[in-house]
């Protein structure tokens, strides 16, 4: 299948939001100095946490692997700089729950000394796709757009269907965030190089680089980079600015007019979608043997004095980034990791930057006022009008509120992408997304319980069956024994009777005819 992108498609709903991009998009990416301490959570991705491979006190080199993946959906963690492991244990991490999680803490030695690359690749085009995939996994690369899904898995579509189209998701549709914009402006060659690698690894014929039309500089830079390599498989596609055009499903619809099946993956329709930051990281990993040890973070909002994009080592305390950007302005009272629509509010700033930290939005009440208390839903349907998944958010809310978890699934709760459009327009200020997350969590919990109960039932039934079998076997053995004893007894009786008979005959015959035999005891047979 081939696409031409001359006609774009409009998904249902969506929002035109205040962009707030200029605050941080107009200055080059800055590099942060080495921090005093790096905290590396073992789970910075979707899936299983990694397992530490180093001990406290050990000296490590930059790029050295500190933790290995656990299971399939997992990636390793690398040392962002050289130094000493000073702790392995539970520390606060950026997570909505505010709970602590296992981390490796590294104290930089200031030398920033690289380790030897494990197995350098001379020419990746000579490698087969699975070797490239392993390479990308070994570099610890996950989706840098915010979701943190291990990238190598997307390169191994399980559906067996060939991939026709690689989509580079440069939409960056959330307000305030500009890290992909800056990356595409400044490192377009790395992105194009990464696309080359991915097209090779996926054996895909086409690549669309989709960028919202509010980023003309990024569009121009990417066009130049594509033109300079002269690869006609790649095409930069300017898409209208409409939140959430950067949602994977929405972007695919905008470009192709096709829908990813409900509960399915883009690969089911022959499409794979990657963020430009991820693609640049893949390029660095394959070409420069550089694992994922840093990322670009947008530090912005009216709560920070000098908004900017900074390249920070993974594990750097967020407060270092904010201080680098001039510190807080008076009245800063909200710190959000991610954008204002889907990001989550953090309780404190002494948390590490992780692989998915695309933006730190610091806001005062002027830009992000406190939400007023919710009013009852009046079913006005505004939420339905803006929902990009064409759901009925008012009905989902109703059933979540009533804890009717069967009906809420009839209304396709699991097709909700939590983009926040519904809550953004709700005249009753109901935190709708929170209700949907709650319902999803409850349903997963019920499902887990159900599975557990099912397991317990099966175990119980197996035990009963075993007891029954054992009982039957015991009885059978007993019966056999009894029978054996009985036949044994009969034989003895007969032998005794025969002996008596012989004795009688002997007596009667007067003379002994031969040696009398005494009955011999017989063993069990």
């Amino acid at each position: 299948m081939s696409y031409d992108f001359s006609r774009l498609h409009r998904f249902h709903g969506g929002l035109v939001l205040e962009e707030h991009k200029r605050e941080s998009s107009e200055t080059p990416i800055e590099t942060l100095p080495l921090p005093d301490l790096l905290t590396l959570p073992l789970q910075q991705h979707i899936g299983e946490p990694a397992t530490p491979m180093v001990r406290v006190g050990e000296t490590v080199a930059k790029g050295q692997r500190l933790a290995r993946p656990e299971g399939y959906v997992s990636v390793p963690i690398h040392a962002p700089t050289s130094g000493k492991i000073v702790a392995i244990g539970d520390f606060p991490v950026p997570h909505p729950s505010g709970l602590k999680a296992p981390c490796i803490v590294l104290e930089p030695d200031g030398e920033d000394r690289w380790c030897e690359p494990e197995n350098p690749i001379e020419d990746y085009t000579a490698l087969d796709p699975s070797a490239l995939r392993n390479r990308i996994r070994d570099a610890g690369i996950v989706g840098l757009g915010g979701a943190g899904f291990p990238s190598f898995i997307k390169m191994n579509p399980a559906t067996g269907r060939p991939i026709d189209l690689l989509v580079v998701n440069g939409a960056e549709c959330e307000p305030w965030i500009t890290c992909d914009d800056r990356l595409m402006r400044e490192r377009a060659e790395a992105v194009v190089g990464g696309i080359h690698i991915l097209l090779h690894a996926l054996s895909a014929a086409q690549c669309a680089i989709a960028i919202e039309d509010n980023k003309p500089e990024a569009i121009a830079a990417m066009r130049r980079a594509v033109a300079s390599v002269g690869d006609d498989r790649m095409q930069v596609v300017e898409i209208p600015t409409l939140y959430p055009s950067g949602g994977e499903k929405q972007l695919i619809y905008v470009l192709t007019g096709r829908e990813v099946p409900s509960q399915g993956l883009p690969a089911d329709i022959g499409i794979v979608c990657h963020n430009p930051g991820t693609i640049a990281a893949i390029h660095d990993a394959v070409v420069h043997h550089r694992p994922l040890i840093s990322r670009i973070v947008t530090v912005t909002g009216d709560g920070v004095k000098r908004p900017a994009n900074v390249e920070a080592l993974i594990g750097t305390p967020m407060v270092d980034l904010i201080e680098h950007c001039g510190g807080y302005t008076p009245g800063a009272d909200r710190l959000i990791m991610g954008g204002p629509m889907m990001g989550y509010a953090l309780p404190e700033d002494d948390l590490p930057v992780i692989k998915t930290t695309n933006c730190l939005l610091v806001a005062t009440r002027r830009t992000l006022p406190l939400p007023p208390p919710p009013r009852p839903c009046i079913r006005c349907g505004e939420c339905e009008r803006v929902c990009p998944a064409r759901l009925l958010p008012q009905q989902l809310y109703w059933y979540a509120h009533a804890r009717d978890f069967d009906r809420i699934q009839d209304y396709h709760l699991f097709d909700c992408i939590e983009c926040g459009c519904c809550a953004h327009v709700c005249p009753s200020h109901i935190p709708l997304v929170q209700y949907y997350r709650y319902a999803k969590t409850e349903i997963w919990e019920i499902e887990r319980e159900r599975r557990k109960a099912e397991q317990a039932r099966q175990r119980h039934e197996a035990r009963l069956a075993r007891l029954e079998r054992e009982k039957r076997e015991r009885e059978e053995r007993l019966k056999k024994k009894r029978k054996a004893v009985r036949t044994d007894g009969d034989r003895r009786k007969a032998e005794i009777a025969a002996a008596l008979e012989r004795a009688r005959r002997k007596k009667a015959g007067g003379e002994a005819q031969g040696a009398a035999t005494t009955p011999k005891a017989q063993g069990d047979d």
Partner: protein, 343 residues
């Protein structure tokens, strides 16, 4: 440093329920002003009594329910109910008619079901239908529109009539009231006259009934403004007026002597008020886009049936209440196809 944490999204477009209700009140006011102009001070008294009663009743019930009164009153929804009820009432009804209607609407139809957002039936229409069934005689006390009234009651005369049942010397109710155009069409058709003859009566103007046509056009304008402001769903008025138009067109084309024209139907009685302000109450209407079209179409059809063959001159209240009952079913069968679902 410590920060506030809330669930995403962290930004809001500033829309609010009180703002929606304020816009509805604003949009209905030109039509209401025309009603006062054409039908006299009685309309004003109805609005006043109904509003005071509704707000007071809401405050009382909310207090009895142990909730905070301020935020509930601040949503202005009781006021909207009161205004819609009052605009449906004849101008010379005794004071206790709007009082009982508003009380019934707010206490029984709204708060006994849990208040705003939880009532299955349109409160204003529940109040109206209660009055229509309980006090049929009072519910016919419509005044002649301005221009046709020889004996127009002034402010104090109207107040005296409403509060003490006293009319000025030498006048009786027959002299100060007049059947509405819808009522006249219905009774006169019953006597075997043709529409052509009936419509020559002075009560009929250029488009429909004198006064009524302009009030309806004002409601239409207010309603279009609400649609433009995205305060109401366009599907409901489109469905209702569309079906009313189509059905009346069919019968008018078939026999224009016995069936009134589509224009007459669209600009008479509570057609526009119903289509843009009453049927669009989102709480009690269908909530899916297609469901709302069907919901509106159902009301339009019922209005036509009641006006043409039923026992009442107008049928908006019954249409709305009957379709309120159908709303959950409509919602169930008109769910939009979710992104990624099989076509």
């Amino acid at each position: 440093m410590q920060f506030h944490t809330f669930s995403s999204p962290h930004v809001h477009n500033g829309n609010s329920v009180p703002a929606v209700m304020r816009d509805v009140l604003l949009a209905v006011s030109p039509g209401a002003a025309l009603m006062v102009y054409f039908f006299g001070w009685g309309v004003f008294f109805n609005l006043l009594i109904s509003s005071v009663t509704a707000v007071a009743a809401e405050a009382l019930v909310v207090k009895l329910r142990g909730r905070e009164v301020g935020p509930v009153l601040a949503d202005h929804s009781a006021l909207v109910t009161a205004v819609l009820l009052a605009l449906a009432l004849p101008p010379l009804v005794p004071w206790w008619v709007p009082f009982l209607g508003a009380l019934f609407a707010i206490v029984l139809a709204k708060h006994l079901y849990g208040g705003l957002g939880y009532n299955p039936f349109n409160p204003a229409m529940v109040g109206f239908v209660m009055l229509l069934i309980a006090f049929p005689k009072q519910m016919t006390l419509w005044t002649p529109p301005a221009g046709l009234d020889q004996q127009r009651l002034d402010f104090t005369e109207t107040a005296a009539c409403i509060f003490t049942h006293r009319l000025p010397e030498g006048l009786d109710y027959d002299a100060v009231t007049l059947a509405t155009p819808l009522d006249k069409v219905k009774t006169d058709l019953g006597t075997g006259r043709t529409l052509r003859e009936i419509l020559t009566a002075p009560t009929f103007g250029t488009l429909a009934g004198v006064g009524w046509e302009w009030a309806n056009l004002a409601y239409l304008l207010g309603g279009l403004w609400l649609i433009h402001r995205r305060r109401i769903a366009w599907q409901i008025p489109a469905g209702m007026l569309g079906s009313l138009f189509l059905v009346s067109l069919v019968f008018y084309g078939y026999d224009s002597d016995n069936y009134a024209s589509p224009l007459f139907h669209l600009l008479s009685g509570a057609a526009m008020l119903g289509a843009f302000f009453i049927a669009t109450d989102p709480v009690t209407a269908a909530t899916t886009p297609r469901g709302r079209l069907w919901y509106g179409a159902g009301i339009g059809l019922i209005v036509y049936v009641i006006r043409t063959w039923g026992g009442y001159p107008d049928g908006v209240a019954f249409g709305v209440l009957l379709m309120n009952m159908a709303a959950p079913t409509l919602d169930h069968y008109t769910q939009p196809r979710v992104y990624g679902a099989r076509r």
